[in-house]
Protein backbone atom coordinates (compact mmCIF):
# COMPACT_ATOMS: atom_id res chain seq x y z
CA UNK A 1 0.00 0.00 0.00
CA UNK A 2 2.85 2.38 0.85
CA UNK A 3 4.44 1.70 -2.56
CA UNK A 4 1.10 2.29 -4.26
CA UNK A 5 0.64 5.63 -2.53
CA UNK A 6 4.16 6.71 -3.50
CA UNK A 7 3.51 5.90 -7.14
CA UNK A 8 0.26 7.86 -6.99
CA UNK A 9 2.03 10.85 -5.53
CA UNK A 10 4.64 10.71 -8.30
CA UNK A 11 1.91 10.60 -10.92
CA UNK A 12 0.18 13.62 -9.40
CA UNK A 13 3.36 15.65 -9.04
CA UNK A 14 5.17 15.60 -12.39
CA UNK A 15 7.29 18.56 -11.21
CA UNK A 16 9.28 16.03 -9.24
CA UNK A 17 10.64 14.52 -12.44
CA UNK A 18 12.53 17.72 -13.17
CA UNK A 19 12.06 17.70 -16.96
CA UNK A 20 11.13 20.90 -18.77
CA UNK A 21 8.93 21.48 -21.80
CA UNK A 22 7.97 24.60 -23.73
CA UNK A 23 5.21 26.58 -22.05
CA UNK A 24 1.77 26.33 -23.65
CA UNK A 25 -0.20 29.57 -23.42
CA UNK A 26 -3.39 27.94 -24.75
CA UNK A 27 -3.27 25.35 -21.98
CA UNK A 28 -2.39 28.21 -19.65
CA UNK A 29 -5.65 29.92 -20.56
CA UNK A 30 -7.63 26.80 -19.63
CA UNK A 31 -5.76 26.59 -16.35
CA UNK A 32 -6.19 30.28 -15.66
CA UNK A 33 -9.93 30.14 -16.19
CA UNK A 34 -10.45 27.01 -14.09
CA UNK A 35 -7.96 27.63 -11.29
CA UNK A 36 -7.50 31.39 -11.07
CA UNK A 37 -10.98 32.34 -12.30
CA UNK A 38 -12.60 31.89 -8.90
CA UNK A 39 -10.97 35.12 -7.77
CA UNK A 40 -9.41 36.80 -10.81
CA UNK A 41 -10.36 38.20 -14.21
CA UNK A 42 -8.14 39.76 -16.84
CA UNK A 43 -9.94 43.10 -16.90
CA UNK A 44 -11.73 43.51 -13.57
CA UNK A 45 -10.66 43.69 -9.96
CA UNK A 46 -12.58 41.00 -8.07
CA UNK A 47 -11.39 39.09 -5.00
CA UNK A 48 -7.96 39.51 -6.56
CA UNK A 49 -6.62 42.20 -8.90
CA UNK A 50 -7.12 42.35 -12.68
CA UNK A 51 -4.38 40.50 -14.53
CA UNK A 52 -4.10 42.01 -17.99
CA UNK A 53 -0.73 43.73 -18.00
CA UNK A 54 0.49 41.93 -14.90
CA UNK A 55 3.61 40.60 -16.66
CA UNK A 56 6.32 43.22 -16.27
CA UNK A 57 4.31 45.17 -13.69
CA UNK A 58 5.44 45.93 -10.17
CA UNK A 59 3.60 43.95 -7.51
CA UNK A 60 0.76 45.85 -5.88
CA UNK A 61 0.29 48.32 -8.71
CA UNK A 62 -2.99 47.35 -10.42
CA UNK A 63 -5.24 50.41 -10.44
CA UNK A 64 -7.99 50.68 -7.84
CA UNK A 65 -7.28 47.37 -6.07
CA UNK A 66 -6.90 47.26 -2.30
CA UNK A 67 -3.73 45.25 -1.71
CA UNK A 68 -2.28 43.87 1.48
CA UNK A 69 0.39 46.09 2.99
CA UNK A 70 2.97 43.38 2.25
CA UNK A 71 2.26 43.31 -1.49
CA UNK A 72 1.84 47.08 -1.75
CA UNK A 73 5.26 47.61 -0.16
CA UNK A 74 6.96 44.82 -2.11
CA UNK A 75 9.64 45.61 -4.70
CA UNK A 76 8.84 42.44 -6.69
CA UNK A 77 8.31 42.84 -10.43
CA UNK A 78 6.23 40.13 -12.08
CA UNK A 79 8.20 38.11 -14.63
CA UNK A 80 9.00 34.42 -15.17
CA UNK A 81 10.94 33.74 -11.99
CA UNK A 82 8.88 35.85 -9.63
CA UNK A 83 5.55 34.60 -10.96
CA UNK A 84 6.79 31.00 -10.70
CA UNK A 85 7.88 31.60 -7.11
CA UNK A 86 4.55 33.32 -6.34
CA UNK A 87 2.46 30.47 -7.75
CA UNK A 88 4.65 27.92 -5.99
CA UNK A 89 4.23 29.50 -2.55
CA UNK A 90 3.08 33.12 -2.34
CA UNK A 91 3.89 33.41 1.35
CA UNK A 92 7.53 32.50 0.75
CA UNK A 93 7.94 35.20 -1.87
CA UNK A 94 6.03 37.98 -0.08
CA UNK A 95 5.37 37.17 3.59
CA UNK A 96 2.11 38.71 4.77
CA UNK A 97 0.38 38.56 1.36
CA UNK A 98 -3.22 37.36 1.16
CA UNK A 99 -3.45 35.01 -1.84
CA UNK A 100 -2.04 31.73 -0.52
CA UNK A 101 -3.23 29.77 -3.58
CA UNK A 102 -0.57 27.36 -4.83
CA UNK A 103 -0.14 25.63 -8.20
CA UNK A 104 1.63 22.36 -7.56
CA UNK A 105 3.24 21.47 -10.89
CA UNK A 106 5.99 23.40 -12.67
CA UNK A 107 4.47 22.74 -16.11
CA UNK A 108 1.12 24.20 -15.08
CA UNK A 109 2.80 27.26 -13.57
CA UNK A 110 4.81 27.80 -16.76
CA UNK A 111 1.68 27.54 -18.92
CA UNK A 112 -0.25 30.01 -16.74
CA UNK A 113 2.68 32.43 -16.83
CA UNK A 114 2.91 32.07 -20.63
CA UNK A 115 -0.79 32.97 -20.87
CA UNK A 116 -0.43 35.99 -18.57
CA UNK A 117 2.61 37.14 -20.55
CA UNK A 118 0.71 36.82 -23.83
CA UNK A 119 -2.29 38.73 -22.44
CA UNK A 120 0.09 41.41 -21.17
CA UNK A 121 1.49 41.89 -24.65
CA UNK A 122 5.01 40.93 -23.60
Amino acid sequence: MRVGLSLLAMALLPAATGHTVAADAAHGQELYESRCGGCHSLDANRVGPAHRGVYGRKAGSAANFSYSTAVRNSTVVWEEKTLDAWLTNPQSLIPGQRMNFRVATAEDRADIIAYLRKESGK
Binding site: R35, C36, G38, R46, V47, Q91, F101, T105
Partner: protein, 192 residues
Protein backbone atom coordinates in the same frame (compact mmCIF):
# COMPACT_ATOMS: atom_id res chain seq x y z
CA UNK B 1 -13.31 13.87 23.15
CA UNK B 2 -12.99 17.54 22.24
CA UNK B 3 -15.77 20.04 22.53
CA UNK B 4 -15.60 20.69 18.80
CA UNK B 5 -16.32 17.10 17.95
CA UNK B 6 -19.17 16.97 20.44
CA UNK B 7 -20.69 20.03 18.82
CA UNK B 8 -20.28 18.56 15.40
CA UNK B 9 -22.04 15.34 16.42
CA UNK B 10 -24.92 17.37 17.79
CA UNK B 11 -25.04 19.24 14.48
CA UNK B 12 -25.14 16.00 12.53
CA UNK B 13 -28.14 14.86 14.51
CA UNK B 14 -30.02 18.06 13.78
CA UNK B 15 -31.81 19.26 10.68
CA UNK B 16 -30.33 18.89 7.23
CA UNK B 17 -29.23 21.61 4.81
CA UNK B 18 -27.73 24.97 5.58
CA UNK B 19 -28.30 24.80 9.32
CA UNK B 20 -26.35 21.56 9.48
CA UNK B 21 -23.49 22.99 7.45
CA UNK B 22 -23.26 26.15 9.50
CA UNK B 23 -23.47 24.38 12.83
CA UNK B 24 -20.85 21.79 12.04
CA UNK B 25 -18.55 24.14 10.20
CA UNK B 26 -18.63 26.76 12.92
CA UNK B 27 -18.08 24.11 15.56
CA UNK B 28 -15.06 22.77 13.74
CA UNK B 29 -13.72 26.16 12.79
CA UNK B 30 -14.44 28.21 15.84
CA UNK B 31 -13.54 26.27 18.94
CA UNK B 32 -12.55 28.22 22.02
CA UNK B 33 -8.92 27.33 21.49
CA UNK B 34 -8.86 29.50 18.35
CA UNK B 35 -9.63 32.73 20.21
CA UNK B 36 -7.14 35.58 19.69
CA UNK B 37 -5.06 33.70 17.14
CA UNK B 38 -4.96 36.93 15.17
CA UNK B 39 -2.09 37.91 17.46
CA UNK B 40 0.08 35.04 16.25
CA UNK B 41 1.83 34.87 12.89
CA UNK B 42 0.33 31.55 11.87
CA UNK B 43 -3.12 32.53 13.14
CA UNK B 44 -3.05 35.81 11.26
CA UNK B 45 -2.04 33.99 8.09
CA UNK B 46 -4.94 31.55 8.45
CA UNK B 47 -7.35 34.41 9.09
CA UNK B 48 -6.06 36.00 5.88
CA UNK B 49 -6.87 32.85 3.91
CA UNK B 50 -10.33 32.64 5.47
CA UNK B 51 -10.97 36.27 4.57
CA UNK B 52 -10.13 35.63 0.92
CA UNK B 53 -12.55 32.70 1.03
CA UNK B 54 -15.15 34.99 2.57
CA UNK B 55 -14.68 37.54 -0.23
CA UNK B 56 -15.19 34.73 -2.72
CA UNK B 57 -18.41 33.67 -0.95
CA UNK B 58 -19.66 37.28 -0.88
CA UNK B 59 -19.15 37.44 -4.65
CA UNK B 60 -20.96 34.13 -5.20
CA UNK B 61 -23.96 35.31 -3.16
CA UNK B 62 -24.16 38.49 -5.25
CA UNK B 63 -23.75 36.54 -8.50
CA UNK B 64 -26.68 34.25 -7.66
CA UNK B 65 -28.69 37.30 -6.56
CA UNK B 66 -28.05 38.93 -9.94
CA UNK B 67 -29.03 35.72 -11.69
CA UNK B 68 -32.20 35.31 -9.66
CA UNK B 69 -33.25 38.91 -10.29
CA UNK B 70 -32.35 38.86 -13.97
CA UNK B 71 -35.67 37.40 -15.07
CA UNK B 72 -33.69 34.97 -17.22
CA UNK B 73 -33.99 31.90 -14.97
CA UNK B 74 -37.04 29.64 -15.26
CA UNK B 75 -38.27 27.10 -12.72
CA UNK B 76 -36.79 24.72 -11.63
CA UNK B 77 -33.43 26.34 -12.46
CA UNK B 78 -34.38 29.44 -10.46
CA UNK B 79 -35.15 27.33 -7.39
CA UNK B 80 -31.80 25.56 -7.67
CA UNK B 81 -29.99 28.90 -7.99
CA UNK B 82 -31.66 30.15 -4.82
CA UNK B 83 -30.72 26.90 -3.06
CA UNK B 84 -27.09 27.24 -4.12
CA UNK B 85 -27.10 30.86 -2.97
CA UNK B 86 -28.31 29.64 0.44
CA UNK B 87 -25.33 27.26 0.56
CA UNK B 88 -22.99 30.18 -0.07
CA UNK B 89 -24.73 32.14 2.67
CA UNK B 90 -24.09 29.18 4.97
CA UNK B 91 -20.41 29.26 4.00
CA UNK B 92 -20.33 33.02 4.60
CA UNK B 93 -21.88 32.73 8.04
CA UNK B 94 -19.47 29.96 9.07
CA UNK B 95 -16.46 31.92 7.82
CA UNK B 96 -17.55 35.16 9.51
CA UNK B 97 -18.11 33.40 12.83
CA UNK B 98 -14.76 31.66 12.60
CA UNK B 99 -12.77 34.75 11.66
CA UNK B 100 -14.32 36.63 14.58
CA UNK B 101 -13.68 33.74 16.94
CA UNK B 102 -10.04 33.75 15.89
CA UNK B 103 -9.79 37.46 16.64
CA UNK B 104 -9.90 38.70 13.06
CA UNK B 105 -12.12 41.14 11.20
CA UNK B 106 -14.28 39.71 8.41
CA UNK B 107 -14.11 41.49 5.06
CA UNK B 108 -17.32 43.21 4.02
CA UNK B 109 -19.17 42.41 0.83
CA UNK B 110 -19.03 44.58 -2.26
CA UNK B 111 -22.36 45.87 -3.52
CA UNK B 112 -24.30 43.80 -6.03
CA UNK B 113 -23.73 46.63 -8.51
CA UNK B 114 -19.95 46.40 -8.10
CA UNK B 115 -20.06 42.63 -8.57
CA UNK B 116 -22.32 43.01 -11.60
CA UNK B 117 -19.79 45.31 -13.21
CA UNK B 118 -16.82 43.08 -12.39
CA UNK B 119 -18.60 40.00 -13.78
CA UNK B 120 -19.96 41.88 -16.80
CA UNK B 121 -23.49 40.87 -15.85
CA UNK B 122 -24.89 43.20 -18.52
CA UNK B 123 -23.74 40.67 -21.11
CA UNK B 124 -26.05 37.96 -19.73
CA UNK B 125 -28.96 37.56 -22.17
CA UNK B 126 -30.22 34.01 -21.66
CA UNK B 127 -30.62 31.38 -18.95
CA UNK B 128 -27.70 29.53 -20.51
CA UNK B 129 -25.50 32.62 -20.11
CA UNK B 130 -26.35 32.77 -16.40
CA UNK B 131 -25.73 29.07 -15.94
CA UNK B 132 -22.35 29.27 -17.69
CA UNK B 133 -21.27 32.17 -15.47
CA UNK B 134 -22.33 30.26 -12.35
CA UNK B 135 -20.61 27.11 -13.62
CA UNK B 136 -17.38 29.04 -14.24
CA UNK B 137 -17.44 30.70 -10.82
CA UNK B 138 -18.22 27.44 -9.02
CA UNK B 139 -15.32 25.63 -10.69
CA UNK B 140 -13.00 28.48 -9.82
CA UNK B 141 -14.21 28.44 -6.24
CA UNK B 142 -13.79 24.67 -5.93
CA UNK B 143 -10.24 24.94 -7.23
CA UNK B 144 -9.50 27.92 -4.99
CA UNK B 145 -10.47 25.94 -1.91
CA UNK B 146 -8.20 23.09 -2.98
CA UNK B 147 -5.36 25.44 -3.91
CA UNK B 148 -5.12 27.07 -0.49
CA UNK B 149 -5.11 23.80 1.47
CA UNK B 150 -1.27 23.55 1.64
CA UNK B 151 -1.06 27.09 3.02
CA UNK B 152 -3.16 26.57 6.16
CA UNK B 153 -1.16 26.31 9.37
CA UNK B 154 -4.12 24.73 11.16
CA UNK B 155 -4.84 21.38 9.51
CA UNK B 156 -8.43 21.44 10.78
CA UNK B 157 -8.98 24.55 8.69
CA UNK B 158 -7.43 22.77 5.71
CA UNK B 159 -9.98 20.00 6.11
CA UNK B 160 -12.79 22.55 6.29
CA UNK B 161 -11.46 24.16 3.11
CA UNK B 162 -11.85 20.80 1.40
CA UNK B 163 -15.44 20.53 2.67
CA UNK B 164 -16.30 23.98 1.36
CA UNK B 165 -14.76 23.05 -1.98
CA UNK B 166 -16.84 19.89 -2.11
CA UNK B 167 -20.00 21.98 -1.96
CA UNK B 168 -18.75 24.08 -4.88
CA UNK B 169 -17.95 20.92 -6.84
CA UNK B 170 -21.48 19.67 -6.21
CA UNK B 171 -22.83 22.98 -7.54
CA UNK B 172 -20.60 22.75 -10.63
CA UNK B 173 -21.77 19.21 -11.33
CA UNK B 174 -25.45 20.17 -11.10
CA UNK B 175 -24.93 23.23 -13.31
CA UNK B 176 -23.06 21.13 -15.85
CA UNK B 177 -26.02 18.76 -15.91
CA UNK B 178 -28.45 21.64 -16.35
CA UNK B 179 -26.38 22.82 -19.32
CA UNK B 180 -26.48 19.26 -20.69
CA UNK B 181 -22.70 19.26 -20.97
CA UNK B 182 -20.65 16.08 -20.58
CA UNK B 183 -18.85 15.34 -17.36
CA UNK B 184 -15.03 15.35 -17.46
CA UNK B 185 -13.65 12.40 -19.43
CA UNK B 186 -10.47 12.24 -17.36
CA UNK B 187 -9.91 11.74 -13.67
CA UNK B 188 -8.52 14.53 -11.46
CA UNK B 189 -10.21 17.28 -13.44
CA UNK B 190 -10.34 19.55 -10.38
CA UNK B 191 -7.52 20.76 -8.24
CA UNK B 192 -4.11 22.28 -8.69
Amino acid sequence: MSRSIDLRRRGLLRASGVTLLSASAVALLAGEEKVALANTGSGAADIGILNVALALEHEAISAYQLGAQSGLLQKPVLEVAVLFQSHHKGHRDALVATIRKMGGTPVVAKSDAEVAKALNAASLKTQTDVLRLAQRLEKGAANAYVGVIPSFNDRTLAQISARLGEDETMHWTALTGALQEPLPAKALSFGV
